[in-house]
């Protein structure tokens, strides 16, 4: 009688406890305020209606110039998650998506957007995994918590330091791309990989994991 009762209790505990413990121990889909709220553009200062008189005019030489070289980001580090990855400047893939390095141990910086520390959102993204190569450099990104520190070192050796303010898993269909790739406003770092349910028929994930970080106060990017 006793062992029977014990096995009922134990069995129920296992049946309920295992999934509960698993659910409690896995990272939440989101941490911190929602990404689109964090990325929301600060309200424009109300501009005075245009004066009726003519504006001040500034004039400059129109001769062709070549854009000044900037030092692109070269290394991404998230010490709290054990992430260290070389960064490659990347553009647009043939399908119109952001291009990413084939090597999942490397991550890509969207070179048409701002460099880390300049006005707007600097976007760094990488594959979460690959069928042949296994987990990618950004595999732990889905466990990033607000307050996590990120460092980006550029090719000239300069470093910008960031602190995570938000992490969210967002379905790719509704990813706020215009907000994420914004080129004006306060400087932010946005780190993106894949996550959510894996869709074997598409060999891809349904969602993106989006982490937004703000400059650590006091550092001059």
């Amino acid at each position: 009688m006793r062992p029977a009762a014990a096995s009922v209790v134990l069995g129920l505990a296992l049946a309920v406890g295992a999934p509960t413990a698993w659910a409690l121990s896995r990272p939440d889909a989101a941490a911190g305020p929602p990404v689109d709220q964090v990325l929301e553009r600060p309200a424009d200062p109300t501009t005075a209606p245009p004066a009726s008189t003519l504006p001040e005019v500034s004039v400059r030489d129109a001769a062709p110039t070549v854009a000044p070289e900037i030092a692109p980001p070269a290394r991404l580090e998230v010490p709290g998650l054990g992430v260290t990855a070389p960064v490659d400047p990347m553009g647009i893939a043939g399908d119109g998506q952001m291009a990413l390095p084939e090597d999942v141990d490397r991550v890509g910086w969207y070179r048409f957007g701002p460099e880390p520390g300049a006005a707007g959102n600097s976007v760094i993204a990488g594959h979460v995994d690959d069928r042949e190569q296994g987990p990618g450099a950004l595999f732990p990104l889905r466990t990033a918590e607000p307050g996590e520190e990120i460092a980006v070192t550029d090719a000239a050796g300069g470093t910008t330091r960031w602190r995570v303010v938000s992490r969210e898993v967002v379905e790719k269909d509704v990813l706020p791309l215009d907000e994420i790739f914004r080129r004006d406003g306060p400087p932010r770092l946005v780190v993106i990989t894949c996550g959510g349910p894996f869709l074997p028929e598409f060999r891809s994930y349904r969602d993106n994991v989006v982490v937004v970080a703000e400059p650590v106060g006091g550092t001059t990017p």
Binding site: M1, P3, S7, V8, L10, G11, L12, A13, L14, A15, A18, P19, W22, R26, P50, T53, L54, P55, V57, S58, V59, R60, D61, A62, A63, P64, T65, V66, A67, G91, I92, D95, G96, Q97, M98, L100, F112, A125, H127, V128, D129, D130, R131, G134, P135, G136, F139, R142, K172, L175, I180, F181, I192, T193, C194, P197, F198, R203, S204, Y205
Partner: protein, 273 residues
């Protein structure tokens, strides 16, 4: 080509019937202003520019460009005087009366020479629609005292037979191109070669200006802020980070627990009978 009227040099203000009408383009922030830039492309002739009798630009030098001006929409009388003229009275070098600047327009007014070498004022409407991610828009305008030209990039003709005061626009992958200008249908280089930075998501307007006597040159105007975001961010093909359901060991443990509880309950029920 946009609606353009070219004015001859005849001294004194030339009233232009109907004025110059710039085509309005939508999607600019303010409903009551227009964005107007002015480029000076008449060699060796510094000027003062007056709008509605007020001096807008003082001592405007050839080869220079104003930053974009937010002007209240409306009608403007434009006049160019020699830079050493005391004020906007008397006979201007060039003028255009009743230039209509509609709200939302983005335009560049160019003072330049015609093919025959006469000074002229030509307003061009700048294309400012969204550009696909990764691409750049380049607009080429011929405002030099020269016959038709071809524009080459990396040795290949990309704009062919462009004549004064016309323009042509292309959308190309962003990047730096090495460009030159040749007399149409020849390999006779008139300007360049020069490296042009075609920034992604921006319109780069390249002007060929000048004259045979003063030399031909390029002027560049850049209008940014027409970029588009990538269509998405890819990122994984293995499913190792899949979080769609219970992992197998967790599920197995739960199933085993249910079986264990059921077995215990069955034994309890039998023994209590």
């Amino acid at each position: 080509m946009s609606t353009v009227r070219t004015l001859g040099r005849t001294a004194g203000a030339l009233g232009v019937a109907g004025g110059l009408v710039l085509v309005a383009t939508p999607a600019l922030a303010d409903n009551h202003t227009a964005t107007v830039s002015v480029l000076h492309g008449v060699p060796e002739l510094p000027v003062d520019v007056y709008a509605n009798g007020e001096r807008l630009i003082d001592d405007f030098q050839p080869g220079t460009l104003t930053d974009p001006l937010e002007l209240p929409a409306g009608s403007y009388d434009l006049a160019l005087f020699p830079a050493d003229a005391p004020d906007g009275s008397g006979d201007p070098l060039l003028s255009a009366d009743g230039v209509s600047v509609p709200a939302g327009a983005n335009a560049t007014v160019v003072a330049h020479l015609t093919e025959a070498g006469e000074p002229a004022l030509t307003p061009f409407v700048n294309e400012v629609g969204d550009i696909p991610a990764g691409q750049a828009r380049v607009t080429v305008r011929h405002v030099a005292a020269a016959p038709a030209v071809d524009v080459r990039a990396g040795g290949q003709v990309v704009v062919d037979g462009l004549s004064n005061p016309n323009e042509e626009s292309l959308t190309v992958p962003a990047g730096t191109v090495n460009a030159d200008v040749v007399l149409a249908g020849t390999d006779t280089v008139a300007i360049g070669p020069a490296d042009l930075d075609l920034a992604e998501g921006a319109t780069t307007i390249v002007y060929a200006w000048g004259s045979e006597d003063a030399g031909y040159e390029l002027a560049v105007q850049s209008i940014s802020g027409q970029h588009s975001a990538p269509s998405g961010v890819p990122g994984g093909s293995a499913g190792l980070a899949d979080d769609s359901g219970l992992p197998l060991p967790v599920g197995a443990a739960a199933v085993a627990g249910v079986a264990l509880a059921a077995a215990g309950a069955f034994r309890l029920a039998r023994s209590s009978r």
